[in-house]
């Protein structure tokens, strides 16, 4: 058998394959569990031993998106037959739908705050990283260290000062406040990651653009940005995931207007006993945007996450 340095042996391949599959299964089980639970009836969701095969129902989703009140028989009589499929599901439990729940709003808040802070973080981060990479910035190394040092403690350690600052500035429970907060937390990461990516882009490309008659700014966005796309995409994913999943500050700083989905989802439990399917449904829907975003940027991600090591 010939021996090759680059081609692993069959045995190695099998071993690696099994390892990867096993890891994938282990990580994906909780996810599948959540998705499945969203389609279970409340009794199936708490059955022991757990049921794997069950009759799917949309009750969890209906409960997630609606507020319901327990109705007496008279009231049910007066309301007439159910008009829609979701009313039918609610009636089956002896309740009537009194209106939409707040999940939709909270979800929208998450979208606004998550994507808003990611976008802001990318704009500021790219500009700062470009400056650090290309210009002679006074005290550059100290500044970079200082920026990184904001990540050296858990952000929640400064919760109280931030709470007070937000209260005084009237930023409590506002979209703007949360966008600024998440941007501030993520910015150090994005500056550092993006600087690494921009450092990798040879200066000659910009110089070529300058020679070709473009201004410095045109050279930046026509030549540097397209080449930094990989880095920007992967950095954006990191920022979005953090902002999207952030729980502690959201609990602390938002309650109504600007509350995001993470602090809202656990609240669902309390409304009508232990409504696990509704919680699971909320979590499932909550997963979708990040998943879509990641899949859309997947092409860039693989190269990006290795931080430029496999470029060229």
């Amino acid at each position: 058998m010939s021996f090759s340095v680059t081609e692993p042996t069959k045995g190695t391949k099998w071993f690696a394959g099994i390892l990867v599959v096993a890891y994938a299964v282990i990580t994906i089980i909780p996810l599948l569990w959540i998705i499945a639970t969203g389609f279970k009836s409340p009794s199936d969701s708490i059955a022991y031993p757990p049921v794997v095969v069950f009759e799917p129902t949309l009750e969890g989703y209906v409960n997630l998106f609606t507020d319901r009140t327990r109705a007496t028989d008279d009231m049910l009589e007066a309301a007439g037959p159910p008009q829609t499929w979701y009313e039918e599901i609610a009636r089956a439990r002896g309740t009537v739908i009194s209106g939409p729940s707040r999940y939709g709003e909270r979800f929208l808040n998450s979208v606004i705050i998550g994507f808003g802070s990611t976008a802001l973080c990318m704009i500021l981060g790219t500009a700062a990283a470009y400056a650090f990479s290309r210009f002679r910035v006074p005290l550059k190394d100290d500044l970079l260290f200082f920026i990184l040092s904001t990540r050296m403690m858990p952000p929640i350690a400064v919760a109280i000062p931030i709470f007070l600052i937000f209260r005084n500035l009237g930023l409590n429970d506002t979209h703007l406040g949360m966008i600024l907060l998440y941007t501030a937390v993520n910015l150090s990461l994005s500056v550092w990651l993006l600087k690494g990516f921009i450092d990798e882009i040879p200066l000659e490309y910009e110089e070529a653009a300058l020679i070709d008659g473009y201004t410095r700014f045109q050279a930046f966005y026509k030549v540097v940005l397209p080449q930094a796309a990989t880095g920007i995409a992967s950095t954006a994913i990191f920022c979005l995931i953090f902002a999207w999943n952030e729980y502690a500050f959201a609990v602390l700083l938002t309650s109504g207007e600007a509350q995001t989905a993470p602090p809202f989802i656990p609240n669902i439990i309390g409304v009508n006993g232990k409504d696990w399917p509704a919680v699971a449904a909320g979590a499932t829907i909550f997963l979708v945007p990040v998943m879509v975003f990641t899949v859309l940027l997947r092409k860039h991600l693989l190269r990006g996450i290795t931080f430029g090591a496999v470029r060229k």
Partner: protein, 365 residues
Amino acid sequence: MAQIRIENVRKDFGAFTAVQSSTFTIEDGEFFMLLGPSGCGKTTTLRMMAGLELPTSGEIFIDGEEVGQKPASQRDIAFVFQMFALYPHMNVGKNISYPLLSQGMPKVQVKKKVAEIAEILGITDILNKPVGGLSGGDRQRVALGRAIVRDPKAFFMDEPLGALDAEFREHMSEELRALHDRMNATTVYVTHDQLEAMQMGDKIVVMNHGVVEQFGVPQDIYDWPATKFVAQFIGSPPMNFLNFNGMVGTGSTEVRMNDISITVPEAREGTHGAITFGIRPEHVRLDDSAPYRGRVVATEYLGTTQIVTLETANGAVKARLSSAERVNVGDQTGLQFDARTISLFDAETGKALKSAANKEVLSNG
């Protein structure tokens, strides 16, 4: 196309001076070589001419206009980078058209122009390819295409053949020279390869440690180097140096080296003390009757010629002789120097002493 004049241009990077007060002129349509060893400031000089680096002091004139502090985008020049710097996110055609797009030229016209340039460079069939997979030669051609597409005032090239393998360099340098002759564009070409400079250049400026050592046509620089550095840097093997203590009087036509009188071109400048006697290998002949003696220590056969190394009282001398001549290691023999070709240098300053033979060359550089 344009004349380019560099006057007392200096560049400091912090405390380090990369270029010290350079002055030279590139005439309209010239193929001009910036030659020097690594780190001597060639690239820095070129970048200042292009506007990618601003001079610390001094003036740069392109077409009579002082552009020293103007940004690159306003100088209307083209630059071919060492690694070509083709935009990796664009295909070949887009790369070539990019300088035209910045001028807002209409699409139809751009297309026509790009096709025309591709025709000249023989790259029509790769116009739609991404630049990533191109061979070195094709990259080179695309980079040239991007440079010539705009009819700029001048072309600047920083070791444009450096990234190609030896075999291809030869071919590409011919192509480059042919392209220049066809377009008659003022071209400034940076290289550390003296052979390349001699072969391709109409004129050469030789730099060392940020200082312009000499500038002029290749033949003049080869024959009448202004400094010991130039004499050593150009030619292979380089000029022979024989060091002695003595004197040269203004108007004299001989020097006495170890009490042997040697005829030299009539001196126009005198000195005494440490003097270096310079002679090119091809101007040394072996002649048993000559009074200046040496011993053969090595011979190197090169086909039609051979390089014979001799030991003398003043240092080693290499002679380029016909291969027909029979020379054996260990032979004691006399050395005859062609009197018309001798250069004398002040060993201390390294500067050539003016003589009747080199005064014209030295006065313009």
